[in-house]
């Protein structure tokens, strides 16, 4: 009797769970897990994120000067903000700046601060490629990769949380904790790089963001293929080693594009507008 009862319970449970299990088969389980945030940030959390991001950004700008071209910076802001206005984070102001460096890379700090090197722009052929690289960085911020890893919260009392408290404190120990968290985050952004799963997650969100904004979603893999070819013979400087192997990214992008039905979309590349604004 007991055996039969358990059997029945197990069968019912299996039937109920089946749709969820089947859903994970196409690899989209992870997407489902964070499709919509079930927790909500408080005003203090967002303030803390911006403060943390500002400090990191000041450090990035301490390493690399800004490329002094007002028109180019304005254009990059227009492309970046187009993506940002289509993202799910309108609670922060996204800001974009071109760095005067010839290597190819881009960085994002919490709170909406995004940097792209002039070298990265020089390797692009159209506006959709610029949008693709910026979309990848916007995605790191919308998915809160740094915020989650460093547990940046406005009020919680953990090692790096309570940024407001740390920042407002005159105690040197509190300031040291805040500075240490900033040191680790800067080190991660400039040298070690994001976790591979976070990079691939950003690629996935970037594709959706491009399509949502109206840009050709295949621009990201097109750009990656080109820079892979051009940087093949070069010895990689430290700043370039912040992403998973390009081949792996291109393969994953192919899978995502198929899964999200983005393969046959005929979205614009906006080549002529790019050529009007970017002088090489």
């Amino acid at each position: 009797m007991i055996k039969t009862t358990f059997k029945r319970i197990f069968l019912i449970a299996l039937c109920v769970m089946l749709p969820f299990i089947a859903y994970s088969e196409d690899g989209s389980f992870r997407m489902r897990a964070h499709q919509l945030d079930i927790t909500s940030d408080t005003e203090e959390d967002v303030d803390a994120e911006i403060r943390f991001g500002k400090t990191i950004s000041a450090r990035i700008l301490g390493q690399f000067p800004v490329f002094e071209d007002e028109k180019l910076n304005h254009y990059v802001n227009l492309v970046g903000k187009s993506l940002a206005l289509n993202s799910n984070r309108d609670d922060i102001e996204f800001r974009f700046s071109v760095l005067d460096a010839q290597f190819i890379n881009a960085y994002s700090a919490p709170g909406g601060y995004i940097f792209i090197t002039k070298g990265a722009i020089d390797a692009m052929q159209d506006e959709s490629e610029l949008a693709a690289v910026l979309a990848h960085e916007v995605a790191h911020i919308t998915e809160k990769h740094i915020v989650k890893e460093f547990k940046i919260k406005g009020t919680e009392k953990s090692a790096t949380a309570g940024v407001s408290r740390l920042l407002g404190s005159s105690k040197s120990s509190a300031q040291a904790l805040f500075s240490q968290a900033v040191d680790n985050a800067v080190n991660k952004l400039l040298d070690k790089g994001f976790k591979q799963k976070d990079e691939l997650d950003s690629d996935r969100v970037a594709l959706l963001l491009l399509a949502n904004t109206g840009y050709d979603p295949s621009a990201l893999s097109r750009y990656l293929k080109r820079i892979k070819k051009s940087t093949k013979k070069e010895k990689k400087p430290k700043h370039k080693a912040t992403h998973p192997p390009t081949t792996k990214r291109i393969d994953t992008l192919k899978q995502i594009s198929k899964l999200e039905n983005l393969d046959n979309l005929k979205f614009p590349k906006a080549k002529s507008r790019f050529e009007q604004h970017v002088k090489k």
Binding site: D37, Q175, F178, L209, P217
Partner: protein, 159 residues
């Protein structure tokens, strides 16, 4: 036993029944409601940040929403279960605090270097990664681009 099985099945399937219809909020500044759950399909309507919609179905990254006399689909990129916050602008008071902190930080780096007996050249190398450029950050934040200009720019995305 039969009753117990039915009761158990009802309890376990309850969350699915409840989640069939729910409220969602538009998070992006402006979002497109499409005729089917696929990018590239026809735009039915534009909705603005903060609008509260009733979602009646889900399909992977898409939410089916009720409109007055029809339905449409919204990308998950544009929505949340929570109402959006107002956009945060510049926080001038925070800038001052951060800059003061960075000055204290620079001074503590010099003190540590002195204690460790580093020469001037070694000190500059030790602190090169600590350099903060708040002036450039302020210039970056000073670039003002109105949403209306961005929307007009977006409408000009073409080959």
């Amino acid at each position: 036993m039969k009753k117990l099985s039915i009761l158990l099945a009802l309890i376990m399937s309850a969350p699915m029944v409840v989640s069939a219809e729910e409220f969602i909020y538009v998070m992006s500044a402006r979002a497109k409601i499409l005729s089917s759950p696929a990018f590239g399909s026809t735009t039915v309507k534009h909705v603005l940040k903060g609008e509260k919609l009733v979602s009646v179905d889900k399909n992977n990254n898409w939410y089916k929403v009720k409109l007055d006399d029809k339905t449409g689909w919204l990308s998950r990129l544009s929505v949340s279960y929570h109402p959006p916050m107002k956009r945060k602008r510049r926080m001038a008071s925070v800038d001052k605090k951060l800059q003061n902190n960075s000055r204290r930080r620079a001074s503590s780096v010099s003190t540590t270097a002195a204690i460790r007996g580093l020469q001037n050249i070694d000190r500059s190398r030790a602190s090169s990664k600590e350099v903060m450029d708040f002036a450039s950050l302020e210039k970056m934040e000073a670039i003002e681009v109105a949403d209306t200009e961005v929307f007009a720019f977006m409408d000009g995305i073409k080959d």
